[in-house]
């Protein structure tokens, strides 16, 4: 069994409302020098093989129209 960690992020160029909100709140909380915040999702799973992971991402875990994904085998 392998453990896969899949990071799903909003595509560049699309307004990431959550990321923007988080970034906007930072100065008031005393953080400076932080930018380009993007908020996404992380899916962790165990699989017998990595063969169909990309298909899983394309079909369910991510919406390729609006999201990018990255598969990491841990």
């Amino acid at each position: 069994m392998i453990t896969a960690r899949i990071l799903i992020r909003p595509k560049e160029g699309i307004l990431d409302a959550q990321g923007k909100t988080v970034e906007g709140a930072l100065p008031a909380l005393g953080f400076s020098g932080i930018e380009h915040v993007r908020v996404g999702r992380m899916v962790e799973l165990q699989a017998e093989s990595a063969d169909r992971l990309e298909e899983l991402c394309e079909k369910l875990l991510a919406n390729p129209l609006i999201e990018d994904y990255e598969i990491e085998i841990v």
Partner: protein, 221 residues
């Protein structure tokens, strides 16, 4: 005319949708998510709510419900399909409609009565409305910002697939081109974020929504 209203775990507005259909003069039946037959059904409504808790992504899991396979076939055959709010999200995830719905620009859930401008369209859904007409329909959503990549957006616009736009100054979520609802190329599938099923009774709001529910009856029945 018999409408089939889909019901997933987490659907909220399915009974309201049935109520609206009945007020528009049709019969209805609820279709549980694992049903695979749409025999005897003249039209399908995918209602609003939080199907499967909006888990993973709005509408992402509902697209794989057995009933949705039947809906895809039904749509391919030209049957009228209406997706309201979460229903719109499910239809986009299923590929029955172009584009996707993203988190509102302000990130908050917003529930408000608003004005929509009816667009030029040959869809049976809009047959009881006139292009340019303004209708008052409430919306209530947190993930209603319509998005399509530039090429797809251009195609939607030039094919007259935009069914409704938010009236000027009333775009609540940052939807591109103020788009509130779109159809597929053939026009038989319509999705919109606002809730016409909550605009059918003068006691609880406007009655402009009835026109939408009457649309296909004039064309199908």
């Amino acid at each position: 005319m018999i409408w089939g209203v889909l019901q997933f775990p987490g659907s909220c507005d399915e009974r309201d949708a049935q109520n609206a259909c009945e007020l528009a003069g049709a019969d209805t039946r609820l279709i549980w998510q694992d049903e695979t037959s749409l025999d005897g059904i003249d039209g399908v409504i995918v209602p609003g709510g939080f199907s499967y808790g909006d888990y993973l992504r709005v509408g992402a899991i509902a697209q794989f419900a057995p009933a949705m396979a039947a809906v895809k076939e039904f749509a391919a055959g030209g049957g009228p399909v209406l997706g309201i709010c979460n229903g719109f999200q499910v239809l986009c995830e299923s590929g029955l409609l172009p584009g996707a719905l993203l988190t509102n620009e302000g990130t908050r859930f917003i529930c408000r009565q608003g004005d929509l401008v009816v667009q030029e369209s040959s869809s049976p859904w809009l047959s009881e409305m006139n292009a340019g007409e303004t209708i008052s329909i409430p919306f209530k959503h947190q993930t209603g910002r319509y998005f399509a990549p530039p090429e797809m957006l251009e195609s939607i616009e030039s094919n007259n697939q935009v069914a409704f736009r938010y009236a000027e100054g009333q775009n609540p979520n940052g939807s591109l081109n103020d788009i509130a609802g779109v159809t597929n190329e053939a026009g038989n599938v319509l999705g919109l974020m606002p809730h016409p099923e909550h605009a059918v009774d003068p006691l609880t709001g406007s009655i402009d929504g009835l026109k939408l529910f009457r649309g296909p009856a004039g064309v199908v029945a």
